[in-house]
């Protein structure tokens, strides 16, 4: 059982948009002013996904090691750039350490999951490398933003605790521990909660996609379990390494949180 999903014609896809007229009518009726945002989002989504469709078609067809790697590097840099922008860190100071953290975490997770679990004939096969890396990076981005923001906010709001531990213990490692702990809990809790109800409340998109694409439910489920573990591991490594690498620049030479 490995026949592709039924294709959707462009006209059918356009008809699919028509159902949105009902919520838009209700939004107008209740004067809820989100129609402009909705229209922009729909347009952006359609454009972005169409472009992704085109370049993935090309990348999958060429399936060249260097093109695949350049693509992955581009995804890593965008992930690091977006994290820094959202956490409002100094771009010059943090772009390199955060990019390095994302690169190392992706390298470890990809090598383990693609290299030893899936074991495709060709390790750098675009069909596996790009979507799996994309899922890990997309999730790492969200959880990195939550984790880093929590970490910085905790320092701003609980300076007294940091001073108290640092002076009394004399250890910077001990003084950082509660803040790192808080960042990890806040960042990874939603992922852990999501895993625990997977299949009960929601059917994951990747699994649904695979089934529609012709894979058997058993294969789709195995892939889904594997990708969830890969996402969790990738997010964990990415956050820990981002915190460790950023720490070197977050603090001044006296060990105090630097102002930028």
């Amino acid at each position: 059982m490995n026949h592709g999903a039924q294709d959707i014609s462009i006209i059918s896809l356009a008809i699919g948009f028509l159902i949105l007229l009902i919520p838009i009518f209700i939004l107008i009726h209740f004067k809820i002013k989100i129609i402009k945002d909705l229209a922009i989002s729909l347009l952006r989504m359609t454009l972005q996904l169409s472009l992704v469709g085109i370049y993935l078609e090309v990348i999958f067809r060429i399936n060249n090691l260097w093109i695949n790697l350049v693509w992955i590097i581009a995804m890593i840099l965008v992930t690091a750039w977006t994290s820094i922008k959202r956490v409002k860190l100094n771009f010059k100071k943090y772009f390199f350490p955060i990019s390095l953290a994302v690169l190392i975490s992706l390298f470890i997770t990809d090598l383990f999951f693609i290299g030893t679990i899936i074991r495709p004939t060709y390790l750098f096969d675009a069909r596996y490398l790009i979507p799996i890396s994309g899922m890990i990076l997309g999730n790492s981005l969200n959880h990195n933003i939550v984790g880093m923001s929590t970490y910085l906010d905790a320092f701003r709001n609980k300076k007294e605790l940091y001073y108290f531990i640092l002076t009394n213990s004399g250890s910077r490692k001990l003084a950082l521990e509660p803040f790192i702990r808080e960042a990890i809990i806040k960042a990874l809790n939603p992922l852990i909660a999501g895993m625990s109800v997977m299949g009960l409340i929601s059917l994951p998109g990747m699994m649904t996609g695979q089934i529609l694409g012709g894979s058997s439910p058993a294969t789709a489920i195995k892939y889904q379990i594997m990708i969830m573990i890969a996402i969790f591991t990738g997010c964990f490594f990415s956050l820990i390494l981002s915190l460790v690498f950023a720490n070197k620049r977050l603090f001044d030479k006296f060990g105090n949180l630097s102002h930028n």
């Binding site: 002076t167 009394n168 910077r172 509660p178």
Partner: protein
């Protein structure tokens, strides 16, 4: 000995210290007093290098408080914060946070002196009064047996009985240099020297 030489510190155009100097001799208890906003707590942070003055110098035991020496010098100090509502669940957590597991015996001895029973001390912090938390934090900090003890408003939230117990405890400490910040007249009387800011 702690020497503060000619420090200048301002925040957002507000001058906190201008050419301020002070000397705290070894094994002396000096208290900085004065109205709020005069920089009393900031001074304790300056001694720990958490606030760096724009000008001036701090020397502890003759060693300048520079980035190279900060770890060693902070290692000589113990700090009792003003705010006792630290985000900590209980004494066990507090001990683990500051790595004081080896000082547990000391902590419970000090707590006994401070009239806090073993059972009481192990209660969750949200079930304790401000005064009880204050005494627990003081016991933890003093148990570390550091050479310099910095105390920021150590009497806040204490009734007179607890205040006198803490004064007794601090007076009995041997070979300690104590720098405190307070405007409590009973506490000020118990110090060797009071510096008005």
């Amino acid at each position: 000995m702690i020497k503060i030489y000619n420090i200048y510190l301002s925040f957002d155009d507000k001058v906190i210290f201008k050419n301020f100097s002070a000397k705290i001799s070894k094994n002396e208890h000096v208290c900085f007093s004065g109205q709020s906003g005069k920089g009393k707590s900031t001074l304790l942070k300056i001694i720990q290098a958490y606030v760096i003055p724009q000008n001036g110098e701090i020397k502890i035991n003759g060693i300048a408080l520079t980035p190279e020496n900060v770890k060693y010098l902070r290692g000589l100090m113990s700090y009792v914060p003003q705010n006792v509502n630290l985000p900590v669940e209980n004494l066990t957590d507090l001990i683990s946070l500051i790595g004081a597991k080896n000082y547990e015996k000391n902590i419970f001895e000090l707590l006994e002196f401070l009239k806090i029973s073993h059972k009481e001390a192990l209660k969750p912090f949200d079930k304790l009064s401000g005064g009880e938390k204050q005494r627990i934090i003081i016991a933890c900090c003093l148990s570390l047996n550091k050479q310099i003890i910095l105390m920021d408003e150590p009497t806040s939230g204490l009734d007179n009985e607890s205040l006198n117990i803490i004064i007794d405890l601090v007076k009995n400490l041997k070979n300690k240099t104590i720098v405190s910040v307070s405007h409590n007249p009973i506490w000020l009387k118990s110090c060797d020297k009071v510096i008005e800011l």
